[in-house]
Amino acid sequence: MSYGPRPWLQLHWDARAAANFILGGTGAGLTALAAFAPLGERLHQIAMLAGLALVAAGLASVWMEIGRKLRAVHVFFNPFTSWMTRESFAALALFAIGLSAVWTGTPLLYALASLAALGFVYCQGRILRASKGIPAWREPTVTWLVLWTAIGEGAGLLLAFVALAGSPIPAFAPGALGLAVVARALAWSVYRGRVESTLAPRARAALEPAGKQLYQLGAVAPLALLVFGGAVDAYASVAAALAGIFALATGWRFKFVLVVRASFNQGFALPRVPVRGGK
C-alpha cells in the first residue's frame, strides 16, 4: 500500500463487502418485484424466499469481513446518522414482513415487503454515498444507480427464473425488465457524467468497461432479446432467460467493480506550496 499523495485503492472493503451489495441488491430487487408479479402462489413464495435468502447471504458475507464478529449486534446502535444501521433495520423489517407474507399469503404483506426491500437497497446506495473518502462512491447519484441496478438484477433474475422453470412468462415481467435496464443505463449515464472528472485515472479505467457492459450487454442486449422473444414464440423462453441473465450478470460485475476495483481514495492535495526564504 502506498501512502503517497496520489490516490490508492482502498483495501478495507473487499469482495465480501461487495457481495453484500451484489446479493443484497439482487435479493431486494427480486423481493420488490415478486410482490407484484402474478406468478401463482407457489412461485410467488419461492421468489420471495429466494429474495430473502439472497439478502441474508449478502449480510452473512459482510459479517465475515468485520473485525469483531461477536459484536455484530452493535450495528444497530446508530440509526440517527448511520446508513449502515438503517440498512440493518431495513433488513430486519424485510425479513419479518417477507416471511410473514410467505406464511400468510396476504397481498398487503407482500406489498409491504416490497417497500422494505426498496428501503434496504436505498440504504445500500446511501452507504456508498456517505463514504466521503472514495470519490466513486460519494457522488450523490450513486444512490439511484445502486437502486436501479438492484431492480434490474431483480427483474432479470425473476424473468430468468420463470423462463427456466418452464412457467408461462407473466406479461408484466419483460416490460419490468425493459424499464429497469433502461433506467439503469440512464442512471449510469448521469452518474458517469458527474463523477468522471473527480476520479483517479485508474478508477476511471476500472469503472468505464463495467459501465459500458452495463449499457451494451446489460440494456441493449436484453432489450433486443425481449423484442426477439416477443416476435418469435418458439424462442420466447430462451430469449427471456438470456435477457434476464445478461441483466443480472452485468449488474453484478458493475457492483463488484464499483466496490472493489474503482474504490480509489482521493489521496492528498497541496493547494499551496510552502514559501521558503526571501521574506
Binding site: I66, G67, R68, N78, A130, G133, R272, P274
Partner: protein, 227 residues
C-alpha cells in the same frame, strides 16, 4: 469552549519522520500503522518543481464523516473537538475508514510485530488486544492532554500535556493548542500566517492547519485561509 487543533508549518518541516517515530513509541502502534505520518510531495512540472513534507493523520474534524457513518457509535467527538474511538463498541466494519477523506484510520486483524511473529520485550508490554479487529487512529494523545489538564498544565505549551509528535518535532514545525483561545499559540500562528486545511471543499472542518507563508500585511488581510 475549547477546540484543540494542530498546526504544521510546511516551511519548517524537513521530513525527518521523528514525529512518526515518536507517535509509534508513545502509542505502541504495530508495523504498518502510522497514526502520524509525513508525506513527501512533489508539486509542479520540471523545471518548476517544488518539494514539501506534509504531516498527515486524523484531522479531528468538527464535522467528521467517520462519526456520522459509524453504526456502533464507537466513534464520537468530545466537546473539545477530539474525535475518539471506543474500542469496546467498535465492530471493525471499517465504514469509518472508507468515509475518512484523510486515510487516517487503520484496522489490524492479527497481531504483528517488528521482527515477525515473536514480540520484543517492549512490544509484549505495550500489546493491546483490544485494538485488534477494530478501527484505530490518532487520538491527539488525549490521555496526555487530559492528564496534563488535571495537573493544571497547558496543552501545547507544557510538554507533559502535549501530543508526542509535537514534542518530538526537531524543526518546531508542529504546534498544538486551543484554536478558540485568541491568545493561544496556534491562534497567533494562524493569525500571522497564510494557511489552508486538507480537502476543505469536503466540508469536514478539519482541526489540522498547514502554514505555507507569512500573512500579507496589506491587501489580502491577515491569516486568511488559502485553501
Amino acid at each position: 469552549m475549547t477546540r484543540w487543533a494542530m498546526v504544521a508549518d510546511l516551511r519548517r518541516c524537513v521530513g525527518c519522520q521523528t514525529c512518526t517515530a515518536a507517535c509509534k513509541h508513545a502509542n505502541a502502534t504495530p508495523p504498518g500503522v502510522q497514526w502520524r505520518r509525513v508525506l513527501d510531495m512533489e508539486v509542479g512540472e520540471y523545471p518548476d518543481v517544488k518539494r514539501a513534507f506534509v504531516p498527515v493523520g486524523c484531522m479531528h474534524c468538527a464535522d467528521p464523516p467517520c462519526m456520522h457513518v459509524c453504526p456502533s457509535t464507537a466513534t464520537r467527538k468530545r466537546a473539545d473537538g477530539i474525535v475518539t474511538i471506543d474500542y469496546d463498541l467498535c465492530i471493525g466494519c471499517a465504514y469509518c475508514a472508507v468515509a475518512c477523506p484523510y486515510q487516517a484510520r487503520y484496522k489490524t486483524d492479527q497481531p504483528s510485530f517488528a521482527y515477525g511473529g515473536a514480540p520484543m520485550e517492549n512490544e509484549k508490554e505495550t500489546f493491546d488486544a483490544m485494538r485488534l479487529g477494530v478501527a484505530t487512529k490518532c487520538t491527539f494523545c488525549s490521555d496526555r492532554i487530559d492528564a496534563g489538564l488535571a495537573k493544571g498544565l497547558k496543552p501545547g505549551i507544557d510538554p507533559e500535556a502535549t501530543p508526542a509528535c509535537v514534542n518530538s518535532c526537531i524543526a518546531g514545525a508542529l504546534h498544538f493548542g486551543d484554536k478558540e483561545d485568541p491568545q493561544s499559540n496556534v491562534s497567533k500562528l494562524l493569525e500571522d500566517n497564510e494557511h489552508f486545511r486538507m480537502h476543505e471543499e469536503l466540508g469536514t472542518d478539519p482541526g489540522f492547519y498547514y502554514l505555507w507563508d507569512k500573512a500579507a500585511k496589506q491587501g489580502y488581510g491577515r491569516g486568511r485561509s488559502g485553501g
